[in-house]
Symmetry: C2
Subunit: 215 residues, 2 copies
Amino acid sequence: SNEYCVIGLGAFGSALGMELYERGHVVLGIDRNEVIVNKHQDHLTQVLAADATNEDALKAAGMVDYDYVIVAIGDHIEDNILVTQTVLDLGCKKVWSRAENQRHASILAKMGVARVVDPELEAAHRCARILASRSVLDFIEFSPGFSLAQIIVGPTYSGKSLKEIGFRTKYQATVIAIRRQDESIPIAHPEDVIYEGDVLFIAGKTEAVEKIERI
Amino acid sequence: SNEYCVIGLGAFGSALGMELYERGHVVLGIDRNEVIVNKHQDHLTQVLAADATNEDALKAAGMVDYDYVIVAIGDHIEDNILVTQTVLDLGCKKVWSRAENQRHASILAKMGVARVVDPELEAAHRCARILASRSVLDFIEFSPGFSLAQIIVGPTYSGKSLKEIGFRTKYQATVIAIRRQDESIPIAHPEDVIYEGDVLFIAGKTEAVEKIERI
Ligand SMILES: Nc1ncnc2c1ncn2[C@@H]1O[C@H](COP(=O)(O)OP(=O)(O)OP(=O)(O)O)[C@@H](O)[C@H]1O
Ligand SMILES: Nc1ncnc2c1ncn2[C@@H]1O[C@H](COP(=O)(O)OP(=O)(O)OP(=O)(O)O)[C@@H](O)[C@H]1O
């Protein structure tokens, strides 16, 4: 198991810390707000009330010994950047930081964090894609350049198999599962027949999946 | 094209509104903060400075005529709930609301919103899964019960094809793409050979994909 330090126990930081702890990992949670620290003392391995811009406090907490340090401070961009730099200066190898906007994200990237997370932007992208199309029920870019969408089947191909449709060649994407009413065919095969109303789980390069408006 | 109203132009709401607008849809953005409203006036079809708990203001803005109304107010849970109820009472058919925590989410669900979005919780889940496993580079539950993971190939199957490995039967999941160095094989076929260091994009039922710690 790994050891994690989460700095900033807002909605994002506390949910992340708690889930890692529930998965059996060691988690130290740090927040400068004592009320918040007390609220989470039974949900994490250990908690500490401290201002994380205080380098001595972080050093005393043994920051460099953690496998991952996640700077989950949100609204306070200056503190987020200051804490991120302090944690990097202390020699922490894998630092993840949360960004509040695009400019903040590029600053963090240049500082050398292992990963930048932007919960609001990522959620906005996902919602926009679902909202913008009638037959697209869900859409996620699960990796830069690769996406997965859930799309409803219309009347055109109803009763045809994926092979007959020539699905892969036609759409440059793979059907990975089919949901019919509340049943799921968890692994799709070329001979599977699709019907109007089915939901197809389709994955492939983002440019290809994005083009699929309806089936 | 559809017509959307986004209430609350914080990071999430403004990013969502702007993306829908850039995709060619009509977007009205509402926020009670005039500075924020002015900041976004060129990024959306129309903006309105108003307190959205004011039913008359929403009625005058023609709320019921929008295809979707998204209540993107964050920190202020009471306002979020009040605005959501007002929008539902005005007869808006498809209302999406953002939740700040689990209790807020279940209240919104009971009120009858079409979808609840929780950017921080969703981001926390996704990060926890990536952080918690060494060979899993990324993990998303893209639909209740269905997940997608990016996993590194170890030495065991290096040089074997997916068919030889009997991948689907063995792991109860589908390889949809293979990334080698920075090249991607965007659609995986049974005869594709995998090598140590490759990254496999694997999809299937969550219980199956979760079990895959290494390949
Ligand atoms: N310098 C700091 N040292 C330690 N903790 C801090 C510091 N600055 C802010 N925090 C803590 O970080 C937590 C999260 O940050 P904040 O509440 O500002 O962002 P948020 O965007 O509301 O977060 P979320 O969306 O995750 O709820 C807060 O609990 C806050 O007390
Ligand atoms: N009653 C209201 N009517 C209209 N706008 C409102 C109302 N209450 C809050 N807002 C606006 O909603 C926006 C987003 O809410 P808020 O900033 O509280 O949440 P947030 O969690 O910081 O959002 P984000 O994480 O998306 O940045 C703010 O710009 C705020 O002015």
